[in-house]
Subunit: 225 residues, 2 copies
């Protein structure tokens, strides 16, 4: 093996793997738009309806910035997104929420895991793409809304709190299943995770990191993960 | 009657009637967001899905600019919008589309009438509010998308063309019913329509104008109104 073949995690040339990950981020943002719009329509009061519609609109802006980056890199934005069509269909089918609170938690946990995974894999991207993904996924407005609403609802309702803790465990299991399926079907994503990490068995450690972030996220709600 | 009481259509002071109309415009934009988001989720291909999500996001921006104007005028934005909650419930219940084409036409015709009505009533507003409403409602991107998609679909399908012409007649009947119900329940909207017009029986002529615009709109699709 010649030294020039060695990949420096922070100097990789954008290639097919990069387009794949950016396509996945854009697909998640497209799904996020649809989900937040549906959440807005189902919201119990006008103020939350307005806030959720703004978050949905922000997901459109984020998605279009990622599509712009794909085009800059010479990729086909539509194709890059389309290859991940239906990536959340199983997750959605298995986690149909039965109440407003479950719906809010589903978005919070589901996109929490998706964002964490994309951020971790983005460590293997070229600097400009990596910074774009990290900047876009830093948005925490939905988390704040979920924490405020779920915290207030749970503060005097022990039954709700234990139901939501149970729901959260089911959600994270399904979300980690989505990541698992992606890694199996997309070796490019595995390469990015490995390239972005200083550690030898980065993929193995990925699930530990995703679970730790989920525990922290549930902790913000006062819920046991 | 003293001369100072005489209203000049283009110099009226913003008051409760103004807040009402701006609240209605904002409510229509909120509904428009939800409808376009649902249309995006139902779109037959990714490109239309992306375009419709952008139009949904643009409706959020428009709505928030109207809410900002309501606040500037000393009104309560949430209250102004909330008073028109459910304004399209009857319309939606009676016009559930049974195909993608009917869905596209429903949004095109329904919001065409709503926008025309708001534009006509806005002639009775103070200059700044009027210009804002006219500027916001000039957006014709959805019309272009509908005209391109429906035109292409109908070009070699005579059965579809006659079904859509029929659907359009049903839609405009329901949409004019919404306007009629609004005028009966909201005398402030009648005052704005009268103030904005040079003619004595402006409300009576309103429906002629709305119908003429609808006919022109259907004509762009090559459909008989």
């Amino acid at each position: 093996m010649t030294p020039t073949l060695r990949m420096d995690a922070h100097q990789v040339e954008p290639g097919a793997d990069t387009i794949d990950l950016l396509g996945l981020v854009a697909q998640f943002e497209l799904q996020s738009f649809a989900r937040l719009a549906a959440d807005s329509a189902a919201a119990p009061d006008l103020e939350q309806r307005l806030r959720l519609s703004r978050l949905a609109a922000a997901a459109v802006t984020r998605r279009d910035r990622v599509l712009g980056r794909i085009a800059e890199l010479g990729g086909d934005p539509l194709q890059a997104v389309a290859q991940f069509d239906g990536v959340l269909d199983d997750f959605d089918a298995r986690t149909a929420p039965s109440s407003w609170w479950e719906r809010l938690l589903t978005t919070y946990v589901g996109y929490g895991v998706a964002d964490d995974f994309c951020r971790i894999a983005a460590a293997g991207l070229d600097a400009e793409s990596r910074e774009l993904v990290v900047e876009l996924l830093r948005d925490s407005e939905h988390a704040e809304l979920a924490v405020a609403a779920l915290g207030a609802a749970g503060s005097d309702d022990e039954v709700l709190v234990s139901r939501l803790a149970l729901w959260g465990r089911r959600l994270v299991g399904e979300a980690l299943g989505v990541v698992q399926a992606l890694l199996v079907s997309r070796p490019g994503l595995v390469r990015l995770v490995e390239q972005g990490s200083a550690e030898a068995d980065a993929s193995a450690k990925l699930f530990g990191e995703l679970t730790a972030q989920h525990t922290r996220r549930m902790g913000r709600l006062g819920l046991t993960a």
